[in-house]
Symmetry: C2
Subunit: 555 residues, 2 copies
């Protein structure tokens, strides 16, 4: 395959890296309790590539030759592995299907352009050939935004931006950096950091996602409370379209009518191929510190975070887990270092003496960045709010560990699949007033769904981002499944998504729509909202060449 790096064809992350539970003493009892999973039994293994059947490419030799003429030998692939890697993202639905070789449709050809001019030539050639173009960044999408439609009869091109991976320039006067769309998180951040800057955007997928992908799906990161969502960070854009390049200059703000910038954000490839993003960057702060807190109940933690968001403090991370997710955090801590050691030692005794039910307590992380004085000031304000809501500080040790392992969680899902388990996430945002009931409704809906499919299910949640008027709640669910995994997933996932909408939340705060969430679009943005968006797509891509069927299902 090309020298562009990709994740495992069957799962998350890089080959040779996986989740291990052996050094986490609380993990085996936790999964027994939560999921009835017995780790003394024998685990399955991921499939071998040669054991799966891959549909043949439908690309004509002529078209492949034409594409090769644009990018040169070695940058066009039509082999099975390349096409499988580019068929799906990494949702549970994707991982289940890839393991059994269920490919409703694969791309017919994968192409790796070297620059924007080559992207333009590919787009022109593909449209002329009546082919479909699906832009591909890091492949971490979990909303079904990458897969070709099952009934697509035209040639499907997966346009991999992996070679457009440079930080082009940093405008140190304006705090702006021009970055090619295919640059992955760690690579672009390393280039920025070497010059003393940070983008401040760290989604869970950071290690394997690209700035173009962040824009295409309206990504949000762990420090977005301070740095903003990608919609705030991305100021300028270049997008290749059939007739030429859309160029949106990097502007701090503008009143030039309906925002074309905000049409490209979240467009998931339907309006063209993003080739460059000019992002806001920040000088690396003098100090960065994450402190951990515990609350006796979810309601207390939620109320505390709301109060923090309304205070004069300006934290970079505001996160609180519910009781179940807190238990999970303890269970995945190493014996010697984790927060679980704190709790099992004196802290647990102390909290019980205060009347806490330690099975229901909620772990919170609050991060602050900036000058030393600002960090101290924020922490003081936050300490007062935590105390007022009955919380206690547990210092910075857990925060350091959280920071180190924050990107490792997706590996657990592959490990769990080896045990026959299904696990995935769903997240939403809603006004503060609606969050308590939304949370209860989602938990209740998920539990009803677990009953319906006859599994012992587990669901846990955290608040991941705070805003002036509301917050994002992020749910993770899991269960052992010996039946029809896709059908069962549809039941659980669908129940949670419907509970979001019914409770006044949105279908997704930062994972995008794709195919997975598209059925809820009309309920989310109203019939007229869909009419307007469908009008946009239809007018701008009448031939349906750009990732058709995503965001809005075909009528």
């Amino acid at each position: 395959m090309s020298d562009v790096k990709h994740m495992k064809w069957w799962g998350w992350g890089v080959d040779g890296v996986a989740f291990h539970h052996e050094n986490k003493p609380g993990f085996a009892p936790f999964v027994k309790m939560a999921l009835d999973l017995d780790l003394t039994k024998t685990k399955g293994t991921p499939p071998e590539f040669e054991d799966i059947d891959v549909p043949a490419s439908r690309a004509s030799a002529e078209f492949i030759a034409e594409l090769t003429g644009i990018v040169g030998e070695g940058h066009v692939e039509a082999g099975d592995l390349a096409r499988v890697v580019h068929t799906f993202g990494k949702s549970l639905r994707d991982l289940i299907r890839v393991r059994v070789g269920a490919f409703p449709r694969t791309p017919d050809v994968v192409i790796y352009p070297a620059d924007e001019a080559e992207v333009q030539a590919i787009v022109t050639a593909s449209v002329a050939a009546d082919a479909v173009i699906i832009p591909f960044g890091g492949g971490s999408n979990i909303a079904g935004s990458l897969e070709p439609l099952a009934d697509e009869e035209r040639t499907v091109v997966s346009l991999d931006l992996g070679r457009l991976n440079r930080v082009i320039e940093i405008d140190t006067d304006s705090n702006l950096a021009r970055i090619q769309a295919g640059a992955q998180g760690p690579d672009l951040e390393a280039e920025l950091e070497a010059a003393g800057w940070t983008i401040g955007h760290f989604p869970d997928s950071f290690t394997h996602s690209t700035v173009g992908g962040w824009v295409a799906t309206r990504s949000s990161g762990m420090q977005s409370d301070k740095y903003g969502d990608i919609a705030d960070i991305a100021r300028g854009l270049r997008v290749v379209r059939p007739e030429g390049v859309l160029v949106l200059n990097a502007l701090p703000s503008t009143s030039t009518g309906p925002s074309v910038r905000e049409m490209i954000l979240g467009s998931e490839g339907r309006l063209g191929v993003i080739t460059e993003v000019t992002v806001q960057v920040h000088r690396i702060p003098e100090k960065r510190e994450i402190l951990a807190y515990l609350y006796p109940t979810w309601d207390a933690g939620l109320a505390a975070l709301q109060a923090i968001s309304e205070s004069d403090a300006t934290p970079s991370i505001t996160r609180v887990s519910d009781g179940n997710e807190t238990m999970f955090s303890f269970a995945t801590s190493k014996a010697s270092k984790g927060i679980s050691s704190l709790v099992t030692k004196g802290l647990g005794v102390f909290l019980k003496s205060k009347g806490w039910d330690t099975d229901k307590m909620c772990l919170s992380f609050i991060g602050n960045e900036g000058g030393t004085e600002l960090v101290a000031r924020n922490q003081k304000i936050i300490a007062g709010i935590v105390k007022k809501h009955g919380g206690v500080s547990v210092g910075k040790g857990p925060g350091v560990l959280y920071d180190q392992k924050k990107f490792d969680t997706p590996y657990i899902r592959d490990w769990f699949l080896d045990w026959g388990g299904s696990a995935d996430v769903s997240e939403t945002a809603a006004p503060w007033a609606k969050l308590p009931e939304l949370y209860r409704n989602v938990i209740a809906s998920a539990n009803r769904a677990f009953d319906e499919i006859g599994v012992k299910g587990w669901i846990m949640a955290h608040l991941s981002h705070s805003y002036h008027s509301g917050a994002c709640l992020y749910f993770t669910f899991a269960y052992l499944d010996s039946g029809d995994a896709i059908a069962h997933y549809d039941v659980v996932k669908g129940a949670i998504q419907q509970a979001f909408i019914d409770s006044g939340g949105t279908l997704s705060h930062h994972h995008g729509v794709g195919l997975e969430h598209a059925p809820w679009m009309e309920q989310d943005i109203s019939t007229e909202g869909v009419t307007i968006m469908r009008g946009l797509f239809g007018a701008v891509d009448p031939g349906r060449h750009f990732n058709p069927g995503k965001v809005l299902l075909d009528e």
Copy 2:
């Protein structure tokens, strides 16, 4: 006319209120110096309504009867005064034309619905009758967004939202308020303030503009550094369209594809009629204070504001005027109170002793809001930055006066028109690195334009809003004109707008596009940007019923 309040038909603001120079001792010498205007001569007066010719309404009696059936007697007007009031906004072009009765086209009928259901009925009836609908809020627009196209042959309906003027509810838990689109600034703010809240949105037009108008034109206010532009503040929207109401729930953030919310923002009526906006609101801060500073040069002031924007301080207002605008501020100060009294007393002597050229010094206002401790902390950080850039503090007196008279400036233009003078504003935004040269280019371009039309022109500017990556520069220009005022205005305004674009700025930061700025759209958002936006408008309003020709000129 209807009991909905409107501004003077021929100018800004309410009847009986006007600019007076008699209590401002520095004003007469200033205008003599700057504009060669001799105030000892006799001033003209605004026209009398009976002296102007108004084209007849083209609305059929049947259509007016149909509209009356929807809203009831007294809420439909086809008389000359109502139609003139609804023909233009308040740009210089508008004021010149209205004074001489130059109406290329007026609306044929003005209608005042009482609620959203009536708006829906009007929209349905108008589309069925192949009429054109132009929504009307406060009528303060200066971009030509309100006037019917000169060659419009269909019936034109001015849909005045003035009766939809209530704050419907305040969600005190989520910091959100539902407000009807026609609510004017002072009215909605008074309702919010009575409950302890503020919207934090105070554009120059505040006293005569509406929340619907703010959304339709992407407004920005004087405290937007803290509270955000209206694009940040407006979370939820209701927009009446032919087939029903677009409903966008108030969400803190969402990843539901291209943002329909950000399509309505800046849409200037082209996507439907905004009937309700759910805005973020804030508790009235404990303290609010504006401090004034002086800098020896524009470059020093600009650099200081850039440094403030990158600091840990969180001001609500960041403003610095250039030397010319500072002179203007002094000239419009009252003898006993203004900043001019400070300067003419000891301060001027002191600054000259420091080597300042007091004709070039630059006045700055920095506002802070929040808890007393936050305000003090911000002011301390800012004081350090000011000092580092060679500035001096001149206390809070000037800021109090600025706060009191900040909404009065538009009255000067009508007074100046009585003297045969033309004055207007143009504003832009650009990255920090481009601002110094942009400023110089605009000044040079304006002066060339003044030469071209043979006038002694005056141009002055201030930085009005700071962002992480750039700022808004706001220019005001004026000259006495005894020739073809419109043709001359085109020369000057066009030169300034072109200098914005050529220097890397946008055509407008917060006044919108309308007809006035539409010629620069393709240069601003690129050909493909126009293609996308035109596609949206064409798909969503194929019959061109909604304020056609605005934002993008007809092809």
